[in-house]
Each structure stands twice: as C-alpha cells, then as structure tokens.
C-alpha cells in the first residue's frame, strides 16, 4: 500500500527535522546528522537540497535567515507535529516488537488487538493522537 507523502519519514527526513529543532544551515545539518548517528546516516548535498525544498513547500520548516550564501532553517509547528507522529509510529513498532513473541503471535485473533491497545494506553506507553 503506497504511503502518503511524509506519512512515514525516511531516516534522512527524520534526522533533518530533529536537527532543525534548532536553527541550522545546510552544512551544519549534514555534519550533525553524521555525528548523531555515528556516521550511520549520511545526507548528500543533493538530497539535502531536495528535502529542504520539499519541507519548505510542505510548510514543515521555514527559512529563517540568509547570510551571504548560507541559509538557515527552523522547524515549524507542522513539522513538529510530523516529527511527533513519526515518534509515535516508531514507539508502536517498538512496543509491538517487544510484546509479540511466538505465543502471542499464535494467540492473535483469540483476544483481539484492541485489548492490548487499551492496556498500552493505560500503561501510559502510548499517547492517543
């Protein structure tokens, strides 16, 4: 099933938005993402440019200042919401991974997934969006 644009973020998109919780320019984003992920995630300048342009058009970040050829960006409320939704999605994935062992998988359908959902919300591990 195709996903809506920005419904799930790639790692590169995710880390760019994380970085832009603080005003940053392009080069700094690339360096910080590499440091944050110990080099696991790298963003090429071409990719960074296209993603920044797309985020600006989608209203998820905004350009804050231009100093010579350096442009700085900052995440918007919409961008923060997208980041938070991605965080929630990742949390769900982690919880599902932690919960579902062999027995649980075989038991699917008997008690229904909704019970587990309730218990997770009650345990405060998952917030209702």
């Amino acid at each position: 099933m195709p996903r809506e644009k920005y419904q799930t973020l790639t790692e590169q998109m995710f880390y760019i938005l994380v970085c832009l919780q603080v005003e940053q320019c392009g080069m700094d984003i690339m360096e910080k993402v590499a440091l944050m992920t110990d080099g696991r995630v790298s963003i090429g300048p071409g990719t960074l440019y296209h993603l920044l342009e797309n985020f600006v058009q989608a209203g998820m970040i905004c350009e804050t200042k231009v100093e010579g050829r350096r442009r700085s960006y900052l995440i918007t409320e919409q961008g923060k919401k997208a980041l938070d939704e991605e965080y929630q999605r990742i949390q769900r994935v982690i919880l599902d991974y932690e919960y579902y062992g062999v027995e649980q998988i075989e038991a699917i359908g008997e008690s229904g997934g909704k019970e587990r959902e309730k218990s997770k919300i009650q345990a405060g591990k998952l917030s209702v969006i």
């Binding site: 790639t10 071409g46 442009r71």
Partner: protein, 467 residues
C-alpha cells in the same frame, strides 16, 4: 555520463559547456575527478541563468566540495576531486566524502518528475506524427499515387522507425523505473541504465540511415542529392539559428517564457521560410528541366491563323513504343516525352506521350501509362478506371467483344472505353503473374482506330518494356 566525464578528465579534458548538438571541453591537467548528476526538474534551457532555487542547490553542493560543471536539460552535473579517505578519519572528513545523492527515493522522484516534464513529451510527439502522415497518404486520390509516392512513403517509414524508437525508449524507461522503485523502497542505490538502451540508440541511427539509402534510390539521382542536401542544410540552419537566438536571449537575461515563445516562433518562421524557398527552388527547377534525366527539350514555335504564336517544349526521350512502330510518318516535330516516372519499393508508374503540335499537320499520336505493382492490384485497376471515367457520366470501360484480344495478349483482362456514341481507342490491359508473367497494368490511348495486329504489337511491347 558520469563515467564518460571521469574518463575524459583522466585524459586531460574538462567539460566546459554543454550545447544542444555538441559538448565543449577544455584542456586541463589529467586528474581523477568524480562526477555526479542530480536532477532539477524545474530547469529549462530558456532560463536566463540559474534560478534562486538552483543557486541554493549549487551553494549547498559547493559547501560539500562538489563543483557545478554544467547542466544538460534538467541534469545538473557536479564534480569533485577524488581523494583517498584517511582511515579512522573524523566525521567531517566522512561528510566531505558523502555522495551527491544519498536518498534513492528522493532521486527517483526527481527523475520521474523530469521525465514527465520533458522526456515523455518528445517521445509522444514522434508517435503523434504517424497518424498525420497516414492522413496525408490517404488524402491522395488513388492507391496508385499512394504506392508510388516515394517521398511520403520514405517520411512515413522514417517516422515509423522513430515511433518504434520512442515506444522502446518509453518501455525501457518503464522497466527501469519499476526496478528502481523496488530498489529505492528497499533503500538501495538505483540500478544503472541498461546498456541495451544505448545500443538501441545506435541501432536506430543505423536503421534510419539505411532507410534513407533504401528509399533515396527511388527519388531520382539529381532530386535525391539536391533535395536531400537542401533539407539537411535547412535543418542545420534552423537548428543553429534557433540555438544562437536562444543563447543570445539567455545572455541578455530574457525571462524564460519570453525566450521560449520567441525561440519557438522563430524556429517556426525559419522553417516556413526555408520550406518556401526550397519549394520555390524545386518549382523553378522543374519548370526549367533541372531534374530531367533524359535529354533537354528543344523549342518549336507554331503560328495560329489569327497570327498568334505559341512556343512549345519538344522532348526527345526514348519511348518503349512509338507511332513509327505502327506506321510510316513524315512528321518532323514529334515530341516524345516520358511525362512521369514515380517509383517506390512498392510500385513503379511511368507515363509516356508522343504528340504533335497545332501546326496544321495533324499527325498520329500515342499516349500510354504503365503501372507495375506488387500490392492492391485490383484496387489500382479500379483507380485507373475511375481516373479515366470520372469526368464524363457516359464513359465506361467494358470488356465485351475483346476477349480474343485478351487471349492474344495473354492478359487477364482487357477493357475498352465506351462513350454514348460508341467505343473509343482507349484500352486498359491487365496482366498478372499467371497471365503474362508480371503484375502490370497499362492504359493506352491511340489517336486512330488500331487494328488487332497493332493492338497485339502494342501489348507485346508494353508488357516487356523496362521502366
């Protein structure tokens, strides 16, 4: 492209400018350079310069050591020196070795947008030309005209080849895109373009050139070289002039849309002018017998009773059948003309005429047409019948009474034209492989009533005449 540019850099050539027809290189010290391409779908060859957004791209890339080299349509080409990465290098060094594009999904999305904006439309235009040419073909009145029109058939053949190339291009892209989408979804690098795609381009050029030579021999020697040369020169002039105009406006900072409209209009006007000039040259050439393959005509002036005079062209072509084959004649001013000669791979049509002039002598005259066709034989017979009978309602071709002649000529059918006042000395003789040994249709018109022996002689000569 990246590999090719890297190879050129190793040999000491750096890309300086990308043109419509040629790429310009300049001499440098041979060096190891890495090239990479990113797609900028909004780019246009009509932009006066890089847009604000493009400059942002160049700035970001330059911060990471990638230098902008040039652009080819929507492709933005960058290069950087290749340097060995030190072991245990710091993150900053790792960042500086990062490829230009690291997200295959973003790259693929840009390629797809680029194809939608420009790549697909060029291919679709080629496909749309086919119905246009088919329409031109079918606007012609008769099947005989369609089969013998080497120029239109050649153009149609070239566009069929071009359409096949365009369709294959689109198919190749479709196959590549599916593979690339799967790779991008898995986070893998996009697959390289299939080498067969480049081979396809070369095959298309070879087939196209072979087709030109195949059809070109039907154009007539002089016409082939002159018209072919004129067309080539006209295309080169239009392309070159259009390109210079576009570049001139680009340098002056003319806005993209204005540049595009002016360039398109100019190319249209230049094409119209060159086509008009070419047509004028051709018409002038035809009326002055430039393209005749036989001897040049001489002139003969006749005088009417009222004192007016007419000057006529008198032709001296070799005819397969002449009045002199039937009778002795002392007329000295016969014009013997091969009036038409249209040939293609599919059919060959020739028309001949031996006629006198209004000089009071009233000599015997002869006119005949020969059509050799491998296809649509019956349709061609019908077309020749209709061509003859369409001007008068009482004209009709009949076969009654001349079966013995058909047998004598070993023809499948012989028709004679009848009018309300009786039969005319105009015959249509139809031979096939089974009757006569070849698929040939002949229309012959005598200015006198021929005897059966004369008809048999005419049939025998025209059946065996080499066109």
């Amino acid at each position: 492209m990246e590999d090719h540019l890297a190879k050129m850099a190793r040999k000491g050539w750096a890309l300086e400018k990308v043109g419509a027809l040629f790429w310009k290189y300049r001499r440098i010290e041979p060096q190891e350079l890495e090239f990479s391409v990113t797609y900028y779908p909004e780019a246009s060859v009509y932009d006066p310069g890089p847009t604000e957004s493009q400059r942002r791209l160049y700035d970001i890339c330059e911060e990471m050591g990638w230098n902008f080299v040039g652009e080819w349509w929507q492709m933005q080409i960058f290069s950087r020196p290749i340097a060995a990465t030190a072991e245990g290098g710091c993150q900053a060094e790792e960042v500086s070795r990062t490829p230009l594009e690291t997200d295959p999904q973003v790259k693929l999305a840009n390629i797809q947008r680029t194809m939608k904006r420009s790549g697909g439309s060029g291919n679709l235009v080629s496909l749309l030309m086919i119905p246009l040419f088919l329409m031109m073909m079918f606007l012609r009145k008769s099947m005989m005209d369609r089969l013998t029109d080497a120029y239109t058939l050649f153009a149609l053949a070239e566009y069929v080849i071009l359409a096949a190339y365009a369709l294959t291009n689109l198919a190749f892209y479709g196959v590549w895109y599916r593979k690339a989408k799967l790779a991008a979804d898995r986070g893998e690098e996009l697959p390289p373009v299939n080498g067969a795609y480049r081979t396809l381009g070369r095959i298309y050029i070879v087939i196209s050139i072979a087709s030109m030579f195949l059809w070109g021999r039907y154009f007539g020697k002089a016409m082939y070289y002159i018209v072919g040369g004129l067309v080539l020169v006209a295309c080169l002039i239009s392309t070159f002039a259009g390109e210079q105009l576009r570049l001139g406006m680009k340098k002056r900072g003319v806005a993209r849309e204005t540049n595009r409209k002016v360039t398109m209009i100019s190319i249209g006007v230049m094409s119209l002018i060159t086509t008009t000039l070419m047509t004028a040259v051709l018409i002038f050439g035809v009326t002055h017998h430039w393209f005749r393959e036989g001897p040049q005509p001489t002139e003969y002036t006749t005088y009417a009773k009222n004192g007016s005079s007419w000057t006529w062209d008198v032709y001296h072509d070799e005819l397969p059948l002449e009045v002199e084959d039937f009778m002795e004649t002392e007329y000295e001013h016969y014009s013997k003309e091969r009036r038409e000669n249209n040939e293609s791979i599919l059919a060959h049509y020739a028309a001949f005429r031996q006629n006198g002039f209004p000089d009071g002598e009233d000599p015997a005259e002869l006119e005949y047409e020969i059509l050799d066709t491998k296809l649509w034989y019956d349709t061609c017979v019908q077309d020749m019948i209709e061509e003859e009978t369409r001007f008068r309602e009482d004209d009709v071709f009949r076969t009654d009474g001349i079966d013995p002649l058909a047998k004598r000529l070993n023809a499948k059918t012989v028709y004679q034209l009848h009018r309300s006042d009786g039969p005319r000395p105009i015959y249509l003789i139809c031979w096939t492989k089974d009757h006569g040994g070849r698929d040939r249709i002949v229309r012959i018109e005598f200015s006198w009533e021929p005897t059966e022996d004369q008809l048999a002689l005419a049939g025998e000569r025209l059946l065996n005449a080499e066109l």
